[in-house]
Symmetry: D2
Subunit: 342 residues, 4 copies
């Protein structure tokens, strides 16, 4: 049994952590903080939790948080980096769902986030929490930076190709489609139902903050600088990311076998049979990444289809997968639900 604190649980990754952790048999949720909602019952803000969680939001208190075995940050960027050093100093484990510790190059981070990083000294020891790459480091980590949603779907789709040098790293394309929950739980016109349903649009084509994160991971996978074009799209659905990935094959290979072998022992990566197409609804509410690899018309263009739930494998589910690994629980504990269909 471990005790858990959650900082900033009023957003979508927060409520998703609460939903999943409240049914985790080895977890006690100790405190859930929110400056804006302090005093309000969690189940009042999130009525799906009525009858399941009987706790109120509290003001963030560093002592109370430090008493937990692990603290999750479900905050916008630039919040965690101010509080993490104190927790680390007191030996509390930290699992940060925000972007603060994802990029190893602090200058790059500062360029993309237009802020001064207040805690650059901890960046190096932060483990990038993609279990399919860093499972061993996660076990020993003090501070885990949970990958972003697009980076999770994109990296898992490209990794088998790049690790084996099967494609040209200088010309990768990721055409990614995200549900609207990727924009978070915040009042905004662009993501009203009236504006974003019955509509499809690309955004941030000139540059999205997840680009350097993805590139960092892909560089490492093939030990060479890759060039990626990344185009995100806002899709009229609540949840789900469908990443359609394009690469140019540089040699013949049984790609189906390559993918199946790469993920043979991964509990949360499901390589579909040859010729299949994954759909986002089959992973909704689950921690799965479903992948299919195609080489249409026998050309040298490889097409990988990779789908996740952006709030589970793309955020809170993966955070708990990291926690399970970190504390020696079965890796799938409390994150093995079946998608509700239809």
């Amino acid at each position: 049994m471990i005790t858990v604190g959650i900082v900033g649980a009023t957003g979508y990754t927060g409520v998703e952590l609460l939903r999943l952790l409240s049914q985790h048999p080895q977890v006690v949720i100790q405190c859930v903080t929110s400056r804006s909602e302090a005093g309000k019952a969690v189940s009042e803000l999130f009525p799906n939790l009525r009858g399941h969680i009987d706790i109120a939001f509290s003001e963030p208190d560093i002592n109370q948080l430090a008493d937990c075995d692990v603290v999750f940050f479900a905050t916008p960027h630039c919040v965690a980096m101010d509080m993490v050093p104190q927790l680390i100093a007191r030996n509390t484990k930290v699992i940060d769902l925000s972007a603060d510790f994802r990029l190893q190059d602090v200058n790059q981070w500062q360029d993309w986030y237009k802020m001064t990083h207040t805690c650059p000294e901890l960046i190096e020891q932060a483990v990038y929490g993609l279990p399919e790459v860093n499972r061993e480091q996660i076990k020993q980590a003090q501070l885990i930076a949970v990958p972003g949603c697009y980076p999770t779907a994109t990296q898992l789709g490209f990794l088998p190709l790049l690790e084996q040098n099967l494609v040209d790293p200088s010309h990768l394309i990721a055409d990614a489609k995200s549900g609207v929950s990727g924009a978070g739980r915040k009042a905004a016109i662009a993501t009203l139902l009236t504006e974003s349903s019955e509509n499809m649009t690309a955004y941030a084509v000139s540059g999205h903050r997840h680009l350097p994160e993805i590139t960092q991971g892909l560089n490492k996978a093939c030990n060479t600088p890759v060039h990626l074009t990344f185009v995100p799209h806002l899709t009229p659905m609540i949840r789900g990311i469908h990443a359609t990935l394009y690469a140019t094959a540089t040699q013949e290979a049984d790609l189906q076998a390559v993918f199946e072998q790469r993920y043979a022992n991964e509990p949360f990566v499901d390589v579909l049979p040859a010729g299949h197409h994954p759909s986002t609804r089959t992973v909704k509410g689950t921690n799965l990444c479903r992948i299919a690899v195609h080489q249409p018309q026998n050309s040298n263009t490889v097409v990988v289809l990779s789908v996740i739930d952006n709030l589970v494998k793309g955020a809170s589910g993966q955070a708990i997968q990291n926690m399970n690994i970190l504390f020696g629980f079965p890796e799938t504990m409390a994150i093995d639900a079946i998608a509700v269909m239809p």
Copy 2:
């Protein structure tokens, strides 16, 4: 540990039974029958089940079914009534999600379903599987008729008022809104996304088959013949029923207290605090019925808002709740999930 068979599991109540039963710790799914899909892996038809259920559809075989402890019928009406007698004769328990045994009056059944009932002798012993009314009878049942979706939401909303004679039974109105999954998993133009999204429409105003079922339950609740006007609407969402119920109060009463007391011990009925409005998404994927009672503008019109997931509390979840009661398992076992939000 009990063994379970499912007849006709290719529809939405079928896949929902599979999703829920596959994670039930006391259940082994023995056989899943379908004439049309015999031989195909269940997870091929329903890719959400990949990795969770490793069984194929088989031709319905009465011997194989009779060997199960309990058989669920997730079939259209008029299928169960042909097979149930043989199962009952061999002492297999039957939980029928179809309409075949819901109406106690066989003539009424035949009027509404335009068929001759082939097994009228079993109707009397069938228990109407609404645990909030018939829990004791369910424990002893051999054959359970699981209530329909509209009838579940509507009866749970009206019962406290009628049982206590607080409203005029001769003038009840149920304005019910259902998600499209209520129409089942069958090829049809009217329920294409192109036809049913971005649209709202009433249907079957002249008479819907759930009307006599609801009326039968309400009659019994108040020991007097009620008159109900029931107007169903097709709503552009996958799941959920929102029943808005209207009745005329015949005396003063603390309705909030009446509802809270009526359902104080019910694990799956959640009476909201005074002034609240339940929303269908808070019960999506769950076996909950959430209810609020209002008396707007201090008039004598009582408004009850009652929401369920039509495929869970309105079908498969309630079927499993019945099974849990029947076999002495904890009533909430395997049907206590939290709704995924957003």
Copy 3:
């Protein structure tokens, strides 16, 4: 040719006025005001208008507005009442889409809107712009209060019954379902796609501001005080209102004929054949109200189904219908589009 000004055109009724008026052959749009967007091209805020409207938002200027033949207010309540007196004083016609002049009883207005009305002296001369009731007065009006969306759908559905004293006025029920655009174009969490799609919920059951407006119209129709229970619901679609109306018949009548005769000469009310059910998508983008009347199960409960597009017949289209009547243009000019289906 007339010149038109629009105050507050950054909301949904504003963009709808712009869409419709820009294709009106007798209209020149002179000025479009917005404090927040002054200087920005209209087509930048509303990209559907690119290539169709070449004008920028300007600061509201009373002189510029007064020079127009008619000024539309597409503002939240309490804006028009401050500017209208100056326009009326200069003989400019005013068509107000807000609630400021809809209620004839200023005290009632102040109770529901929690504000002091700053211009009570003009209330009496304001014509309630429901052409199916007040066409003659509209022709002579200086100031028109365009009905709200719910009030339009509800009144058109109840009027034939009440005008002929066919139902009991003391027990009317309006169960109304609205698309999310009814909440307007403003940043808010509750109407995000993530919150309001795949969901159905009632709201404001205790009392909605459209209740006194509807009641006022119904009282007048039957010359007696009616009692109405009005329950609005938020429906997961962009546009459309489906009002399901319930009343108790007090005498036998051929209701189909009553409705057909009442609306025989109305260009924008379409009474469906007996037994039909209107759907909101058939009126989307149009100024039509489609109505069907039922008497299910031969009971004395009358059910009327009334659908409109809340932003057209429920707001901007009806405003232009008023303008057409006021200036002697053909009543259907520029508002006779066919709904796009699917």
Copy 4:
């Protein structure tokens, strides 16, 4: 004034032709044929047309059709090719919305459509009805093959780049997202709201019938065989195609200027300002193609975003644009509506 016949108007391109042609000031709709619906009023099948079209479906009759000035085929493939020769022989103009005459290579057609073409002799004289490429030939055409939906969005996006040899033709990618109406108005499980809403999936990655059509057009644009990878996706919305196109620049160029000049005189292609992202809802119900060109991160990868309404510019609107050109009407007549937003 011309007379028009429509063959097979029970699908979505059919109802869209009816909607648009019924408001075309130079058109009389003479006959609307359907074997399955003969005798039924058009407005009964398509209630949006009630009050606008007062005609019934009739059995297809070649004499009646030949008496029209022009006949539209809104049929599945392999219907037009059986009837067109008789119409051409009698000098009736034909505008075919199906695929029968789109491919100039009959063998390629037969490979992709798995049928013997019954009228190969007319293929050569068929004009491919993309006005932005073939306007002059359309003016003289007897038989017009209206482009498919994906081919329209994709070609309009790639043409400026290929015509000027600015990109490598051997490595083109089109990642296309289509609304569900692209699947047509036919009973099917995969396109039910329950199956296709709240979901994103690629399909036909191994090869889609629009691939050879697109390739044929692109080959011609650059006078060299291109290689295109085309991945279509089913998107949870009714209408709209968003084609995201990727190409590798082979030289420096002011791409914004290239696109603006290419389409400067095109009434239905709107090149957005630099840095913008088109969204499908801004073209819904209109004949517009909106395009933006990007070169993200200053790399040599060009990204073109091209959006259309699949049923208008991608089918029926473009068919009418062809008709307008063919008969010398203003090109935008009856197809210049503004998109309804929101």
